[in-house]
Symmetry: C2
Subunit: 282 residues, 2 copies
Amino acid sequence: MVKVIKTVQDMQKEADRIRQSGKTIGFVPTMGYLHEGHLSLIRLARQRADVVVVSIYVNPTQFGPNEDLDQYPRDFRHDEALLEQEKVDIVFYPSDKEMYPEGDAGFVEVKGLTESLCGASRPGHFRGVTTICTKLFHAVKPHFAVFGQKDAQQAAVIKRLVKDLHFDLDVVVGPIVREADGLAMSSRNTYLSSDERRDALSLDQVLKMAEEMVNEGERNPAVLYKAMHKLIAAKPHLKIDYISIVDPDTLEDLDVVENRALIALAVFAGKTRLIDNVIVEV
Amino acid sequence: MVKVIKTVQDMQKEADRIRQSGKTIGFVPTMGYLHEGHLSLIRLARQRADVVVVSIYVNPTQFGPNEDLDQYPRDFRHDEALLEQEKVDIVFYPSDKEMYPEGDAGFVEVKGLTESLCGASRPGHFRGVTTICTKLFHAVKPHFAVFGQKDAQQAAVIKRLVKDLHFDLDVVVGPIVREADGLAMSSRNTYLSSDERRDALSLDQVLKMAEEMVNEGERNPAVLYKAMHKLIAAKPHLKIDYISIVDPDTLEDLDVVENRALIALAVFAGKTRLIDNVIVEV
């Protein structure tokens, strides 16, 4: 049976008990509505840790005022059954009142990395992410935490957060998991109409195309950008938010593709904002 | 012998070892140049904890561009000898490079409480304080941390930080320690000329006067303010930065003195900024 813990204090006591017994804690923070992408991260944690803790918490402070906080899909019973199957030990499932007992006066931020890409179109989003991760890390006290590469900027920001603030934990990043047709798994895929979904397949396609272009010798980000832009712009149900070719750690724009490059994009399919990316190595 | 630890990683390993053995860690963060005020906090920690850790680190990010970072007094050998006498177990003594390895991209802030009083005259100061305390808490992993009431706003901000971000530690606040003549102990007292120091005694005097006025029934902050202002303004070497009468937890201005009130002031004696305060209970 997966153990459900709802308060920070109970979670901290449990974490202390586990640590005192010499066991390691692997942690996978999620907003629930779990899919194969999450499960792949949970399996990564399961391989490496004695005790696996998954949190399910739809964090209000990382949603903008006009975003989908209220309609974000939730299904705790289904999530719990999946966690059971994956032999997760503990699900941390706190309320808003538990996580933000006195509002959001105390917050955590990472400058620089959070201002481009998704940070530019979602002001305040990463402050919400780094703040809730700080709180969750303090509650769960993990030896390592697992994040998905699909949220590439989030992964870079969390790595920097952990390094800068000296959290004593490792950040593990698991690869993107895709549907059979190539669409990157996301809880938000559930919002897509069939037309939007068909067009959305081009995200994976243009990333594969860009990767091939790099493999065949293309080093000019502007050329890659133009080719990708053209393909996506041709889809009637898509609207490009950004296509960026950046350093995977600093997220700074690249003048030339060399060493490792993160090719990342965000696209609206109807009202649903989708993100996807690939890291190419030269 | 007090053990000197200079890296975050070594400190974390030591903290894990102490915690695994079931012992408690009491922590006193300081900027060094220790005086009786610090020692009183260390004794508080010594009474309650199995292992006492004191940090000595002059944190650059809590100094403004025109403040006294460069001239801030430092004497590690002397501090070490005092810590030895107090039977402190560990002194954590990191370098700037150790605490800010990649600059100050990651930071922590508490809104609201940090904008008045010292926060108004020292923009960025409390961001520096909350950021370094976060890093130090992550390095030392204390069960409790001790702060001095002399920095009343800092104590309120740290309490809120710990609560909001769910740090699993208690904040203990030790009383103000004064010289025989009443001047609140501060490493910055060393800057004072004898004239400045003589005038500076009025800080303690006006706080005692305000407390007496409250004890005798005065409930109007404006009346208290006026009386205090008059006495300090009469001193040729003093310049008032602020005199505030606020709620000790929220730091909001009071319309009426009731329950508990923090009467706090900051005054320049020559170029040296001094702070002092009293909490009155009605």
